[in-house]
Amino acid sequence: MTAYQELRKKTEARDHSLRERVMSLEEAAGLVKEGDLIGLGGSTMSRTPLAMIWALIRAGAKGHTIARGISCQEGDLTFASGLCNHVITSWMSHGLNWGVSKIMRNYTEQKRAVFEEWSHMAMGLRFRAGAMGLPFLPMRAMMGSDLMGRLPNVKTMECPFTGEKLVAVPALNPDIAFIHVQRCDAYGNAQMDGLPFLDADLAMAANRVVMTTERIISNDQIRRAPDHTRIPFFTVDAVVEVPFGCAPHECYGVYEPFFSHHDYYADLLKKDAEKGVAEYLQRFYYEPKDWNDYLGRLGMAELQDAARRGRSINND
């Protein structure tokens, strides 16, 4: 069976019916199988599907490969918890204001984890090829750079019409994708505000999708603005309502990043990064009895402040 036939077979076997797919974070974490390649939605500190990462780390999942356009501080947590030992991305650190991630450095320099580096456009086109049911897409970047030589599966090719040299990047069809949006119905029809990032392609490319959402809205609400739907229900396998599901990252129009929490995190890792991140995981990932307990530990004042800043985006 060819890779394409296998992809089609998996897609055919999924339930395409217009049915409710609502479940808990814990149930959704149970959809992840050993060895799954996980795709993450959002970018850097925006619409990061942190609640699902949180649930998966708590469930004790280990050794996954994770693909994301641009990674951020969640990368530290996936490395340090053992959830991930191989990241496919274009960039990984915490963010301009907090310096280069020590955890990223330690894990990759000591070869405890692989950091497979593609250009951002290449990442986007790999998901897009996957979304289109194609084995590859051509592009014009990455040529001449040293990125090419370190990648296991990239090729140069000639254009069949012009003979030009192009780069072919292979489709990336994650086994499962986690995506967080502002609103989604019980069937999985998702609408998002602000930057769409790579999420629509990621959802279409993946073989399973868990959609976490700030709130579940009715299918009637979706149908009132069908041209704002970005991801259709039949690509979605689980819908989980998780208010503040990206905290302490951002969800456009709902909350900005919890900046002082990021300062706190960076401080905690300053002296001994590995000890700091272990302490952080203990306090925020393993100890909380549930997601609301986690949010409570982030702090009500932080949460209110982030929400005030978040909703201010539409102020004139």
Binding site: E109, S119, M121, G144, L195, L198, E256
Partner: protein, 256 residues
């Protein structure tokens, strides 16, 4: 060098790079200093310039004092003309709608190649850096300006790793690698504006900032620069430029 003056090195960098941007251009800007310089240009000599961000934004108004932590957060989206998937905003580079790519750099070499991946040998690096992001795409597909601090350890004969291609090995090696178009147009530092010799593609000084000598810049560079005898001097930052800049970054996140 700027001790006796009423502006910082970072402010010189921001002002001098903003002046390279022309009115009406589409500028693909990185976060931090490039963003700041592009807004400065927009608010001074280039009112119809449009800023693109890698996250997917076309023509936003970033609020003074609310500079974004990356180009992917809502602070980059305020009152934008359009928000696109990141892949599609990067494809604008490939299609040719971007006039200038404008980013910072960690390490650069004589031919304008940039490294943001590895210090030392890539197999056993001294330091793993955060990686390319869209840097490689920008450097491969459009004309680019890089803004960075002028330090000897950052200006090296040959980068440890070519993350974002400049002129590769110089001469016509960039074109030979398949990169038909674009290329590093200017490097702006706190000491000078630099360009590349048309033929050899070796870095050369285009203009020195006020008070900077040829010796000073060569001493701060890890390879031999082309410096013509009568090299120009840039006019110093104006009061107006500095005022706008400080209004944009009141917390002095990037201009300190």
């Amino acid at each position: 060098m700027t001790e006796r003056r009423n502006y910082t090195a970072a402010e010189v960098l921001a002002v001098m790079s903003s002046r390279l941007l022309k009115d009406g251009q589409i500028v693909f800007a990185g976060v931090g200093l490039p963003l700041l310089a592009a807004i400065l240009a927009q608010r001074t000599h280039a009112p119809t310039l449009t800023i693109l961000f890698e996250g997917g934004t076309i023509g936003a108004f970033v609020e003074p004092g609310q500079l974004p932590p990356s180009t992917n957060e809502q602070r980059c989206c305020r009152r934008a003309n359009m928000l696109l998937p990141s892949t599609d905003v990067l494809l604008l580079l490939q299609r040719g709608y971007v006039d200038i790519g404008f980013m910072g750099g960690a390490q650069i070499d004589k031919h304008g190649n940039l490294n943001s991946s590895f210090i030392g040998d890539a197999e056993n690096p001294t330091a793993r850096l955060p990686g390319t992001g869209g840097g490689n795409d920008i450097a491969s597909l459009t004309n680019m300006i890089v803004a960075m601090k002028h330090e000897k350890r950052r200006f090296v004969e040959k980068v440890d790793f070519v993350t974002s291609p400049g002129f590769l090995d110089g001469g016509r090696s960039r074109e030979k690698a398949g990169l038909d178009l674009g290329g590093l147009f200017r490097v702006v530092t706190d000491l000078a504006i630099l360009g590349f010799d048309e033929k050899s593609r070796d870095m050369k000084v285009v203009a020195l900032h006020p008070g900077v000598t040829a010796k000073e810049i060569q001493d701060n560079t890890g390879f031999e620069l082309i410096i013509e005898r009568n090299v120009e001097t840039t006019p110093p930052p104006t009061e107006d430029e500095l005022k706008v800049l400080r209004h944009l970054d009141p917390d002095r996140l990037y201009i300190a």
